[in-house]
Symmetry: C2
Subunit: 146 residues, 2 copies
Amino acid sequence: MRISTRTRYGMRLMVNLAANFKNGYSFLKDVAKSEGISQKYLSLIVIPLKAAGMLTTSRGVHGGYILSKNPSKITAREIVEALEGDLSLVECSRDEKYCIKSKNCATQDIWFGLSEKIAEFLNSFNLEELVKIQIKKKSESNDYSI
Amino acid sequence: MRISTRTRYGMRLMVNLAANFKNGYSFLKDVAKSEGISQKYLSLIVIPLKAAGMLTTSRGVHGGYILSKNPSKITAREIVEALEGDLSLVECSRDEKYCIKSKNCATQDIWFGLSEKIAEFLNSFNLEELVKIQIKKKSESNDYSI
DNA sequence: TACTTATACTATTAATTCAGTAGTATATTA
DNA sequence: TAATATACTACTGAATTAATAGTATAAGTA
């Protein structure tokens, strides 16, 4: 049970865009460089984020990416869901169609309950807060790089 | 981010053994049959559970598997940790060794925090409770099968 | 002792997923 | 029309997953 590199990169990308939200569009090239991630790979990660309505894009010389909403309106949950698919840890549902044992399966309670907890926790982070955390961490670690 | 079949099967195996705890050793054959899981596959899943000290085994004609501890003393967390490896969602640690950006990475807070929440939640289930839940579900669904 | 039965161990495999690279197409601006 | 940035499609090597298969070993029994 690991978070994929894809999702981790996507989260960093989004925090990065949130930090630069007020400056308008960002080039993927720049995000990739400052995060130390392959631009090509990021250009794939960006697709589901755009599809989920979190990113607005512009092509051409002065193009780039920008968050479609205010950073405070975008949660970690939305980002993970866009990149990782839905957050349920198991395929089976309480619907008996998927598993004959559904109606008397105690272990389902664990997996469903856990899925909910995860969604709840991720929902408690928004990009504005994450940027604040990052700024605080940077100042505490005396790291003044961009 | 899915729970592996291995872990799901292992959890069902453990709940099954917990339900039969008072009857002594269970044959894997019987567990496999009542859970509808390949016996061969279960015989592999059992190994890390035994290694983690949760199962006591006996070979030969009257052999089988039995929980090493009272069901109330075994948590879902132990089981998942034995089967899934450790519960941290990311490899990086706050130790800068693993990632140069550790000191100013806000997204780490999400992954570490989430890992803790997951461990906490899984820790709140023990096998005795799970058996009770299962019995309750069975009676509510009018399913009297073993 | 030989037979049966159940666990223990080791190897193999097909299918899928992951992390990334590569190349081309398209839109926008200068 | 040249330059630049995103958009799209395809491919690939490595790792993981969900099994299956076969053999070895231990324990009780005829």
